[in-house]
C-alpha cells in the first residue's frame, strides 16, 4: 500500500472522468491539505489526553479517567465546552491584534505539518528547503504570542509577551545551529532526504549516534522553544499569572492551547527526523505504511520524554535561562559546527570519520560545560554587573 501511489491513482481517475488537469491538481492539493489539517487536529486532541495522563502518573495521580474509557473522551468534552463558552474581549484591548493573534498561532503550527515526512515520500510538500521552511514558520509563533500579550493591554500579559520574544528568539539560535550541523552531515535541506540518509541496520545510521552533543543541544533548546518546563517562563503562573494568554477565553484560548501541544509534537517530530532516522525501520523502505507506524512510535516516545521532563523539573530563573542559551549553547553550537565541517573535509574513510565525530562531540560537550557552565551560576564574581543601572531616587 503506497500512499503516494494512492494519490496518483486518484489524479488519474479524476482525469479519466474528464476534469481538466489544473482542476485535478487543485482538488488533489485541497484533499492533501484537509487530510493534514485533520491529522493535526486529531493529534492535538490525543496529545492533550496523553500529556495529562503522563503528568498525572508522574505526580502520583490518576489523571483524567471519568469521561470514556481511560478518560479518552475528556479532550472532546473540553473542546465542546470551550466551543459553547462566552467569549470575552476586554474593552481596553486592541481588537484587531487581539483577535488575529490566536488565528496566527494556529496557522503557523498547522503550516509546519506540511513538510514533516511521515514515511518515505509520504509528506505534504516534499520541498528542498524543508529546514528553512521550518525555521521561517516556527518564528511566526513568537509573533503571535507577542501580539496576544501586547493587544491584551495588561501588564502581566505584556511581560509574558516580552519574555516570549527574549526566550524564543534566543533559543532559536541553538535550534538553528543544530539543524545546520545535520544539514552539513547530509548535504541537503530536504527533510525526507535527511531521514533517508540515516539508513543502516538496527538504527546504526541514526545521527544521534554520530552527533550526540548536537542532539542534546537541540533537545534542550527545543524544551525552551516549546515553552515547556523547566523553561516555561513566559507563562510562569507564580510570577506573571499566565503570561500572554491571560485575557483570552473560550475558543481563542483553546487555539493557544492547541498550538502549544502541537508545537511540542512538531519539535519531537523534527527531532526524530533529524536524529532518529525519521520513518526508518525494518522493511520501512518497501512498505511506506510501516514507515508511518515507526515514525509515530518514535515521535510519541520523544513526546513522552518532553512530557516527562515537564512533569519533573522545577522552573528556572529567567537570567539563568538566558545566560545558559548565550553563554553555553551558542558557543557550543558554533564549535560543533566548525568541528564537524573540518572533520568531514579531512577525507578519512567513513567509519573513522563517524568514530572521530562521536569522540569530538563528547569532548566538545564536556569541555564547554566545564569551561562555560560556571558563567550561568550565581557566583560572586558574576554579581554586580548592570548595564542599565536603574536611577535610584535621591532622598
Amino acid at each position: 500500500m503506497d500512499l503516494r501511489a494512492l494519490g496518483e491513482s486518484l489524479v488519474a481517475m479524476l482525469e479519466n472522468v474528464g476534469i481538466p488537469h489544473g482542476w485535478v491538481l487543485l482538488i488533489n492539493w485541497i484533499l492533501g491539505a484537509v487530510i493534514l489539517l485533520g491529522v493535526a487536529l486529531l493529534l492535538a486532541i490525543f496529545l492533550i489526553w496523553f500529556e495529562r495522563k503522563i503528568a498525572g502518573r508522574v505526580q502520583d495521580r490518576l489523571g483524567p479517567n471519568r469521561v470514556g474509557p481511560y478518560g479518552l473522551i475528556q479532550p472532546f468534552a473540553d473542546a465542546l465546552k470551550l466551543l459553547t463558552k462566552e467569549d470575552i474581549t476586554p474593552d481596553k484591548a486592541d481588537r484587531i491584534t487581539y483577535n488575529l493573534a490566536p488565528i496566527i498561532a494556529v496557522f503557523h503550527i498547522i503550516m509546519l505539518f506540511a513538510v514533516i515526512p511521515f514515511a518515505d515520500k509520504v509528506v505534504g510538500a516534499n520541498i528542498n528547503v524543508g529546514i528553512l521552511y521550518l525555521m521561517a514558520f516556527g518564528a511566526l509563533g513568537a509573533m503571535a504570542m507577542l501580539m496576544a500579550g501586547w493587544a491584551s493591554r495588561n501588564k502581566y500579559a505584556l511581560l509574558g509577551g516580552f519574555r516570549v520574544v527574549a526566550q524564543l528568539l534566543s533559543y532559536e539560535i541553538p535550534v538553528g545551529l543544530a539543524m545546520l550541523t545535520v544539514v552539513l552531515m547530509r548535504g541537503s535541506m530536504n527533510l525526507n532526504a535527511i531521514a533517508q540518509g540515516q539508513g543502516g541496520l538496527f538504527g546504526l545510521g541514526w545521527y544521534v549516534w554520530i552527533l550526540p552533543a548536537v542532539f542534546i543541544m537541540y533537545f534542550v533548546a527545543a524544551l525552551a522553544e516549546g515553552e515547556r518546563a523547566p523553561f516555561d517562563l513566559l507563562e510562569a503562573e507564580s510570577e506573571i499569572v499566565a503570561g500572554y494568554n491571560i485575557e483570552y477565553s473560550a475558543m481563542k484560548f483553546a487555539w493557544f492551547y492547541l498550538a502549544f501541544f502541537l508545537n511540542t509534537w512538531v519539535l519531537s517530530a523534527v527531532a526524530v527526523t533529524l536524529f532518529f532516522g525519521g520513518w526508518q525501520g525494518p522493511f520501512a523502505a518497501q512498505i511506506p505504511a510501516l514507515g508511518v507506524v515507526y515514525f509515530f512510535i518514535k515521535v510519541f516516545i520523544m513526546f513522552f520524554v518532553f512530557a516527562w521532563v515537564r512533569a519533573t523539573f522545577p522552573r528556572l530563573r529567567i537570567d539563568q535561562m538566558m545566560s545558559f542559551c548565550w553563554k553555553v549553547l551558542v558557543p557550543m553550537g558554533l564549535a560543533l559546527f566548525l568541528a564537524v565541517a573540518i572533520i568531514l573535509k579531512l577525507g578519512l574513510p567513513s567509519a573513522v570519520t563517524y568514530a572521530l565525530l562521536f569522540v569530538v562531540n563528547i569532548v566538545i560537550l564536556v569541555v564547554t560545560l566545564k569551561l562555560l557552565g560556571n558563567y550561568t551560576r550565581d557566583l560572586p564574581k558574576n554579581k554586580n554587573k548592570r548595564l542599565f543601572a536603574p536611577e535610584l531616587p535621591r532622598l
Binding site: 491538481l25 487543485l26 492539493w29 485541497i30 492533501g32 491539505a33 484537509v34 489539517l37 466551543l83 459553547t84 463558552k85 462566552e86 470575552i88 476586554p90 474593552d91 481596553k92 484591548a93 490566536p102 488565528i103 494556529v106 498547522i110 503550516m111 506540511a114 505534504g124 510538500a125 528553512l132 491584551s152 493591554r153 495588561n154 501588564k155 502581566y156 500579559a157 505584556l158 520574544v165 527574549a166 534566543s170 539560535i173 538553528g176 545546520l180 544539514v183 552539513l184 548535504g187 541537503s188 535541506m189 485575557e247 473560550a250 475558543m251 487555539w255 537570567d319 538566558m322 545566560s323 548565550w326 551558542v330 558554533l334 559546527f337 566548525l338 565541517a341 554587573k385 548592570r386 548595564l387
Partner: protein, 119 residues
C-alpha cells in the same frame, strides 16, 4: 514537480488560515453573549488594574533581539554553505571558519560589554 509541492503549500496556507476564522465564527453562533462593563474590564490578576499597560519597557529585550538578528542571519548564510559542502573545496571551508570567527568575536564583545546579563 516543484511547482506542485509549493502549490500544496499555497492551498494549505489558505485553508490553515481560514479554518480558525471559520471556527471562531461558528462559536459566535453557539455561545452566549451577555457582556457587562465589569466582565469586559481587564482581568490582569484579579485586582483592579493600575495605570496603563503600554508603558516604556526596558531596553534589555531590544539588545537580545539585536544579537538574535546577527546570529539568525549568520545561520541563514551558513545553510547554503552546508548544502553545497561536498561540492566546494577547502577554500570555502576556510572562508566559513573566518566568517564564524568574526561572529565569535562579536559574541565575546557583547559578553564583555555585559549585554548578555539579564537584569
Amino acid at each position: 514537480m516543484l511547482v506542485q509541492q509549493y502549490g500544496l503549500i499555497g492551498v494549505f496556507a489558505v485553508i490553515a488560515f481560514i479554518f480558525p476564522i471559520v471556527t471562531l465564527a461558528f462559536t459566535w453562533l453557539l455561545r452566549p453573549k451577555r457582556p457587562n462593563p465589569l466582565k469586559n474590564s481587564t482581568y490582569e490578576c484579579g485586582i483592579e488594574t493600575v495605570g496603563d499597560a503600554w508603558v516604556q519597557f526596558r531596553a534589555q529585550y531590544y539588545l537580545f533581539a539585536l544579537i538574535f538578528v546577527i546570529f539568525d542571519i549568520e545561520a541563514i548564510f551558513l545553510f547554503p554553505f552546508a548544502v553545497a559542502f561536498n561540492k566546494i573545496g577547502l577554500f570555502a571551508l576556510v572562508e566559513a571558519i573566518i566568517f564564524v570567527f568574526i561572529l565569535v568575536v562579536g559574541l565575546i564583545y557583547a559578553w564583555k560589554k555585559d549585554a548578555l546579563e539579564w537584569q
